[in-house]
């Protein structure tokens, strides 16, 4: 054991000594390369770049970087190369130390032309393949994958053998495969291996690589590439469908949020509340005010701003809702068309009121840190704010179902809906239940406003954009049935997102509207229609 460590120490000494000798002798590829810069010829400079870049010297990246920026100077007389550092300081390229004494009189920058600039860029890419920072190595690997630069092959091989990070290593191997695929000198077997590697990558870049193969490729390679393209396209279509489904779920949750309050006021109470969108807007503005106060008083609480805004928005919207019910709507029960007009008028007043108080411009509502950012799931990107909104929507939905099903208020609400006279004679104060139900529906709209403030512009017109969609959801899903609203919202959301790629956003929306209009012809009372006595009530 002792002997082994002795030998190891000896080996280290030998290596160190050799290294010292090499440096002292100034005869390595690095120094050779530097010398070529002094020849002032483009061809020599290319040789120099390649020599320096592949030398493995720690200064190489600095030298090539300086060359790219025109800071690499040479002296033809003294056959030395210098890097100019910003505050007029010269560094000897060979040693990396500042120049002592006077600078040579014939200093001139090493010249570049466009051909050389490309080579410099490729060389830099190759060099950053071995950068200490894993992020930069990954970027460099992606760059090589795109450039397919054959010069980088050596650097790639070196980098792959030294790489420790599994993710970066994978990227490097894929980049190497891309280079090999486009290398004329590579054998067909190598190319087919490379195709297999790229096929595993399976994204749009891979498709581009395989699709761009030169005509001169051999039939075997072409065949492998065609197969790989087909398989990648299949998997891409699958991921695309998943991504659309995710967008659809996200849109559906937004629709559900906006419509669920309406499902209570319209579906359960039969009141057409055209000012429903403005309740959503009130919720969003409550969030804005809460955030403004937090920004002014206690910025540390910003991450909790939504938690504070949620109950407040509910209360504000519910309060306004109860005011509206007591002040206007209760005089109009049984006259739905008049209710529609009166609440439309209210929505105009509320919009203009908010415009007068807060101004017509969009307000800046920030995302708390836990709602910003995204993560990748396979090939689809999921943003946290969308994810949280879906969770929030489902929580509200479940909470509402439980409220209607299990609480005394829910029971009384159902009783009043089903048979008002009977409920009244059983001792339920129906007018109080009306007010509370309307308040509940409006409060939920306020909650929707908190969520929508995270993904939409907070402006006085916020609510208007949702009102028609919300009515569509409720009508489509079936009036008086919360499950219908859920199914309706997600169906419309997903259908919309699947139509969009074919028809474009606007035509997709039009198509959905037309489909709903046709659907109402077929089932005038929605997907989940109430049956029995409740229908005509």
């Amino acid at each position: 054991m002792r002997a082994f460590s002795d030998r190891l120490i000896a080996l280290v000494f030998v290596v160190a000594a050799l290294a010292a000798v090499v440096t002292a002798a100034r005869a390595g590829p690095y120094e050779d390369g530097l010398l070529r810069f002094t020849a002032d010829s483009f061809d020599e400079t290319i040789e120099g770049i390649n020599a320096v870049a592949t030398s493995g010297n720690a200064l190489a990246a600095q030298i090539i970087g300086a060359l790219q920026e025109g800071r690499l100077l040479f002296s033809a007389n003294e056959k030395r190369v210098f890097v100019r550092e910003p505050p007029d300081r010269l560094i000897d390229a060979a040693s990396g130390r500042p120049l002592a004494g006077n600078a040579p009189s014939d200093l001139a920058p090493v010249r570049l032309n466009n051909r050389l600039r490309r080579i410099v860029e490729a060389a830099l890419g190759g060099l950053s393949l071995m950068a200490p920072d894993a992020g930069r190595r990954l970027e460099a690997a992606q760059a090589v994958l795109k450039s397919k630069d054959a010069n980088a092959l050596g650097a790639l091989d070196q980098a792959i053998s030294r790489e420790t990070d599994a993710g970066v290593k994978q990227a490097l191997i894929e980049a190497r495969a891309a280079v090999v695929l486009y290398l004329d000198a590579a054998s067909d077997a190598d190319k087919i291996d490379a195709i297999a590697l790229i096929r595993q990558r399976g994204d749009q870049d891979a498709l581009g690589l395989l699709g761009g193969l030169p005509v001169s490729a051999s039939p075997a390679v072409k065949k492998a590439a065609t197969e790989a393209i087909a398989s990648i396209e299949n998997s891409l279509a699958f991921w695309n469908a998943l991504q659309n489904a995710w967008y659809g779920l996200s849109l559906g949750s937004v629709l559900l949020l906006a419509a669920i309050g309406l499902a209570i006021t319209f579906g359960v109470m039969g009141v057409i509340n055209m000012a429903h969108g403005e309740m959503v807007m009130l919720g969003a503005y409550t969030t804005f005010v809460v955030q403004q106060l937090i920004r002014a008083r206690n910025p540390a609480l910003f991450d909790y701003s939504l938690a504070i805004a949620i109950p407040l928005a509910f209360l504000v919207a519910a309060f306004v809702g109860i005011l509206i019910e007591r002040g206007i709507i209760r005089f109009l029960y049984g006259r739905p068309l008049e209710t529609l007009l009166a609440t439309w008028g209210l929505s105009l007043i509320m919009q203009q009121g908010v415009r007068t108080i807060f101004g017509p411009t969009n307000k800046d509502v920030g995302n708390p840190s836990w709602m910003s950012g995204s993560f990748d799931l396979g090939l689809i990107t999921i943003t946290y704010n969308r994810l949280w909104i879906i969770v929030f929507t489902l929580l509200i939905f479940v909470g509402l179902l439980a409220l209607i099903r299990f609480t005394r208020f829910g029971l009384e609400m159902r009783a009043v809906t089903q048979n008002r006279a009977m409920a009244a004679s059983m001792g339920i104060r129906t007018s109080r239940i009306d007010a509370l139900t309307f308040g509940l529906g409006s409060g939920i709209a306020g909650l929707a406003g908190v969520a929508l403030s995270q993904i939409d512009n907070v402006s006085p017109n916020l609510g208007q954009g949702y009102i028609i969609d919300s009515f569509m959801v409720v009508v489509f899903g079936g009036v008086g049935n919360l499950w219908g609203t859920l199914v309706g919202a997600f169906t419309l959301g997903i259908a919309n997102k699947f139509l969009e790629p074919y028809a474009g956003a606007v035509l997709g929306k039009i198509a959905i509207l037309v489909l709903i209009i046709l659907f109402i012809q077929k089932r005038p009372r929605g997907l989940f229609a109430l049956k029995g006595r409740a229908v005509e009530a």
Binding site: I272, L337, W344, M350, Q352, G353, I510, I520, P524
Partner: protein, 383 residues
């Protein structure tokens, strides 16, 4: 026979109303042209165009009153028929520009040249002829209303459901017309008109002629509505409004009645739009916005639903108020007023202006009949 039908349908009130309209129709151009500009009675050409615009709105309100007031169909998408009529007229006016456009293309309107369209789309063919455009003004809204109504009424979509899907209809059309590749000028719509039937659109005589045409159209529309509502057909419409199921059980084809009156009303709205466009000089997709259609409904509600005269009055009064408010320092408060109007009318004045007057007038007459000419005597018997 038709004359008899018309005469029978016009009672004293209707004749007085028509006479008033006719008098205004003559008086306004006279005050514009024959009275010198220095006189306090002179009306500017601006006023003529403005009042002509109100008349088009009045015709739209009339068409809404026919279906809402007498048949109980609350359409929140009547602005769509209005705008379609307007676009048909706008297309005619665009074709009349000819080489006077910015790009001076003999056939293509400016916006098509700008968008690099190689040739005129098929649906623009024929619009250089006024007769064809005039036919389209009636035909396009009529067909849309017929198809839409056929689906809706046959499957018994009624009440607020119908209101909501009519709103969705106009919303969908708005989204469509906003698109450039629909071929109707996209966002900017159709504008920069030069001639109508060879006369300069901007010239005061043309404006006066358009004003008088609008008045004639309004009077004609009023007579048609009056004939319909005072006939047996109109009685069935009212029956449908008040008890649709009962009317159906009595053996009337409710859908057919509704479909007819809905289509007719859409055609009237189309004519209103067609007269509107040359007077304001532009038609763009915002005319399709659901808010416009609902606003038109409130004109009817303010004037008095189911009175016809009320619709005309309401449209003029509300729009005059709008002009008054939005052209001064009060502009930010117009939406408060409009919104308040919606609420106040539905809560406090459900019969509207004309309806309330009618109601009191009838009560007063009733009391006078009972008490034998002493209107202020105690009319009601003790309970």
């Amino acid at each position: 026979m038709i004359a008899g039908l018309v005469l029978r349908s016009l009672d004293r009130g209707a004749l007085a109303f028509l006479a008033t309209l006719a008098a205004i129709g003559v008086l306004v151009p006279v005050l514009n042209f024959l009275v010198p500009a220095t006189s306090p009675f002179h009306l500017s050409s601006y006023f003529v165009a403005l009042f002509g615009k109100y008349l088009c709105y009045a015709l739209l309100a009339l068409s809404i009153d026919l279906i809402w007031g007498y048949c109980g169909i609350l359409s929140l998408g009547h602005g769509a028929f209005f705008a379609l009529g307007g676009y048909a007229m706008g297309m005619y006016l665009m074709r009349q520009i000819g080489t006077r456009g910015v790009y001076a293309h003999p056939v293509l309107p400016d916006f098509m040249v700008f968008l690099n369209w190689p040739e005129l789309p098929i649906y623009w063919y024929g619009f250089q002829h006024f007769a064809y455009a005039a036919f389209m003004v009636l035909f396009v809204p009529g067909v849309l209303a017929f198809v839409f109504g056929w689906f809706a009424f046959r499957s018994r979509v009624t009440g607020v459901y119908l209101s909501i899907i009519t709103q969705a209809l106009t919303f969908a059309l708005m989204l469509g017309f906003f698109r450039n590749n629909f071929g109707f000028g996209g966002n900017n719509g159709l504008t920069d008109f030069k001639d109508i039937l060879g006369f300069n659109v901007q010239a005061p005589p043309t404006r006066a002629a358009l004003f008088m045409s609008s008045m004639l159209a309004l009077m004609l529309g009023f007579i048609i509505c009056r004939v319909i509502v005072s006939s047996k057909f109109g009685k069935v419409l009212v029956a449908i409004r008040d008890a649709e199921a009962r009317t159906r059980f009595l053996g009337y084809r409710v859908e057919a009645y509704k479909l007819f009156v809905f289509t007719l009303s859409a055609c009237m709205a189309g004519v209103a739009g067609a007269l509107y466009v040359p007077q304001v000089g532009i038609i763009n997709p915002s005319e399709f916005s659901p808010g416009n259609s609902i606003e038109a409904v409130i004109w009817v509600a303010v004037g008095g639903r189911g009175t016809l005269t009320g619709a005309v009055l309401g449209a003029v009064v509300v729009n005059y108020g709008k002009t008054y408010f939005t052209s001064g320092v009060l502009a930010p408060y117009w939406l408060f007023v409009l919104g308040g109007l919606f609420v106040a009318v539905t809560l406090l004045l459900p019969r509207g202006i004309v309806g309330t007057i009618h109601h009191h007038w009838r009560e007063w007459r009733e009391r006078r009949r009972i008490t034998g000419g002493a209107p202020y005597a105690a009319a009601r018997p003790a309970e």
